[in-house]
């Protein structure tokens, strides 16, 4: 580890990985919520054309990629807002046009080489300069602050666009803002994760977080934690294993997802075995429903014909672990009629 930290470019790489690990899942959660998981991938395709233009003209590829990706982001939202069925095809044309133009332009530029292309597509942090790193850090900060400020509105629009519109929120503007934040994240991440893999770091940590989080807030925290562990861990691992950083990061994120999925499935099976659901319960408990409310640890049970009923998801659970209640919990369905006050 000391060896790793003694290298300038590795220290820079770790800082970059930390920023990307926070920003990508933070923006990605709203893409998952809007069911646009693959949109980051498309923006990466278009950003490649921008990179190629930068390489050809000798300008810093970060800026040309940023212009291309942000342009694509705005175009995507405008096409989607019009809601035409042909919009889907228009997006495909734009995305594949971007990557094809990128490949062709890079091949024609004096400093272009296949290695150069691979570095942008799949990530190669060791090629980033200190200036690059400052630019990335600045852009990552823009993404973090922007997403944080707009978070309640992005949530509202992604959760229920129709309600957001009826409440007077600038829905199209917010959708464009999210697309632009996505585009900036794609560009910020291209050196570390690569344009073809960045979408994975936006989506997979969020998929994993769905398994742990019980609320939106908790889900986002988990996703950022998993994103940081995968990206920083991936950079360290790629240093020792001498593998490309992008692929290593994404494989690590996928490994975390599989481990979490298996773990939570096993835990859920064990929980279901212990959880008793009140059968045939066609009454909704609440204040003044006629049943005695009994505080029980962190929640309220309702005393319903000798049974303690606790709200769980869309139904009621039998609470109170005494053997008698466990033995006759089948009776709930038959006694519920006279329980209605």
């Amino acid at each position: 580890m000391a060896e790793l930290l003694s290298l300038d470019f590795m220290r820079q790489a770790l800082v970059a990985a930390l920023l990307v690990g926070i920003a990508a899942p933070l923006v990605g959660v709203f893409l998952v919520q809007r069911r646009l998981s693959l949109i980051g991938d498309g923006m990466g395709h278009v950003a490649l054309a921008g990179v190629a233009v930068g390489v050809l003209t000798g300008t810093a590829p970060v800026w040309t990629a940023l212009v291309a990706a942000v342009g694509a982001a705005v175009a995507i939202e405008l096409i989607r807002a019009r809601g035409r069925t042909s919009g889907d095809v228009a997006l495909a044309v734009m995305f594949y046009g971007g990557i094809a133009a990128g490949v062709v332009i890079i091949a024609k530029s004096p400093s272009g080489s296949p290695a150069n292309l691979t570095a942008y597509l799949f990530g190669a942090i060791t090629t980033a300069s200190t200036t690059d790193l400052w630019v990335f850090a600045g852009l990552a900060l823009v993404v973090l602050v922007g997403t944080w400020l707009l978070r309640p509105w992005l949530f509202a629009v992604a959760n229920d666009e129709e309600y957001a519109r009826a409440s007077g929120m600038p829905v199209t503007g917010l959708n464009i803002a999210l697309a632009v934040l996505t585009a900036v994240t794609v560009v910020v991440s291209m050196r570390i994760v690569g344009l073809l893999l960045i979408s994975a770091l936006m989506i997979i940590p969020n998929a994993t977080a769905q398994l742990f989080g019980r609320s939106f807030r908790a889900t986002v925290r988990w996703a950022v934690l998993i994103g940081v562990v995968a990206s920083v861990g991936g950079v360290v691992l790629s240093f020792y294993a001498e593998t490309p950083s992008g692929g290593t990061i994404v494989l690590l994120a996928i490994a975390a997802f599989i481990a979490a999925a298996v773990g939570t499935a096993t835990a859920a099976r064990m929980r279901t075995a212990r959880h008793r659901r009140a059968a045939g319960h066609d009454h909704e408990h609440g204040t003044g429903c006629g049943h005695e409310a009994v505080p029980h640890d962190d929640h309220v049970d309702y005393l319903h014909d000798g049974h303690l009923h606790a709200a769980h998801e869309g139904h009621y659970d039998e609470h109170g672990g005494d053997v008698a209640a466990a033995a006759d919990h089948e009776d709930v369905g038959t006694t519920v009629k006279d329980g209605q006050r």
Binding site: N159, A166, S215, F216, H283
Partner: protein, 277 residues
């Protein structure tokens, strides 16, 4: 703040729909403060289009819409408007708790550069709204695990969070089991008792009997009935007679002229059965 004389909703000869295919044509409707209006009609009669048009969610093709006396384009006092859309507008691809969904209802009172409203204050409001809809003990539950009726009540709580002067609801009782329908009717009765104006698109008038003060029925994009529940009952039974007579081919003269313009079939059109087959 309330000027009682100003109607809450005024729709004046308005048409809504898609550019070349209006769904609702030349409709006029005025709702006074405190009225609880049930908007009835078969699927495709244009009732949802009308309500969405009033809220600015559908293209307006002509006429005027005023909310609280202000033309809709200039209306920005969104906290006064509580909208309860159909449940399937909620995205379930990411977890969100009941409390987080209801908190969205507070956003219309806030600009993006403003800091959060006092956190304690907003939590209080959210819990009061959840109390009203009977979901206080489910504040931390993932909404997607709730039953349809419970989700409906979450959406009502969200709409209530900004203390609106009118609640606009799109089929709040559709697909809701009996136990939840009772709770829902209780919630709406309580809100009506507090003087909240309501516009409710529904198929199930029975669930709302005793709450509704006025019934508006639509058919083929036009309003074909507008009156009290008692008048509707009478109209209903007459239609039944007319519908019956229609078979034998006499008594056609007794049909009111506006009924002649009501060719739709549906649960509130007793002629419906004739057309369904």
């Amino acid at each position: 703040m309330n000027r009682p004389a100003t109607p809450v909703v005024e729709v004046d000869h308005a048409s809504f729909g898609y550019a070349d295919a209006p769904v609702v044509r030349d409709v006029s409707l005025t709702i006074a403060p405190g009225e609880v209006v049930a908007l009835l009609g078969a699927n495709g009669s244009g009732k949802s289009t009308l309500v969405r048009g009033v809220l600015g969610l559908n293209e307006q093709l002509g006429g005027d819409v005023r909310l609280f006396g202000v033309p809709r384009e200039d209306f920005h006092d969104f906290p006064r408007l509580g909208y309860v859309p159909q449940r399937h507008t909620l995205s379930a691809s990411v977890r969100a708790t009941v409390e987080e969904i209801v908190a969205v209802g507070l956003l219309s009172q806030r600009r993006w550069w403003q800091p959060r409203l006092g956190r304690a204050g907003s939590t209080d409001t959210i819990h009061r709204c959840l109390e009203v809809v009977g979901l206080a003990d489910r504040a931390d539950t993932d909404v997607s695990t709730l039953s349809g009726g419970q989700q409906r009540r979450v959406l009502i709580a969200r709409a209530m969070a900004s203390h609106p002067d009118i609640l606009v609801m799109d089929e709040p009782t559709a697909g809701v089991d009996a136990a939840n329908q009772d709770v829902l009717a209780g919630v709406l009765a309580r809100l009506a008792g507090e003087g909240t104006t309501m516009l409710i698109v529904t198929h199930e008038l029975e669930a709302l009997s005793g709450i509704v003060t006025r019934i508006v029925a639509m058919s083929s994009g036009r309003i074909v009935f507008d009156g009290t529940p008692a008048e509707f009952e009478y109209h209903h039974s007459r239609l039944a007679v007319v519908g019956h007579a229609h078979h034998s081919g006499d008594e056609a003269d007794h049909t009111e002229s506006r009924l002649a313009a009501a060719p739709a079939a549906g649960p509130f059109d007793p002629q419906g059965d004739d057309h369904h087959g």
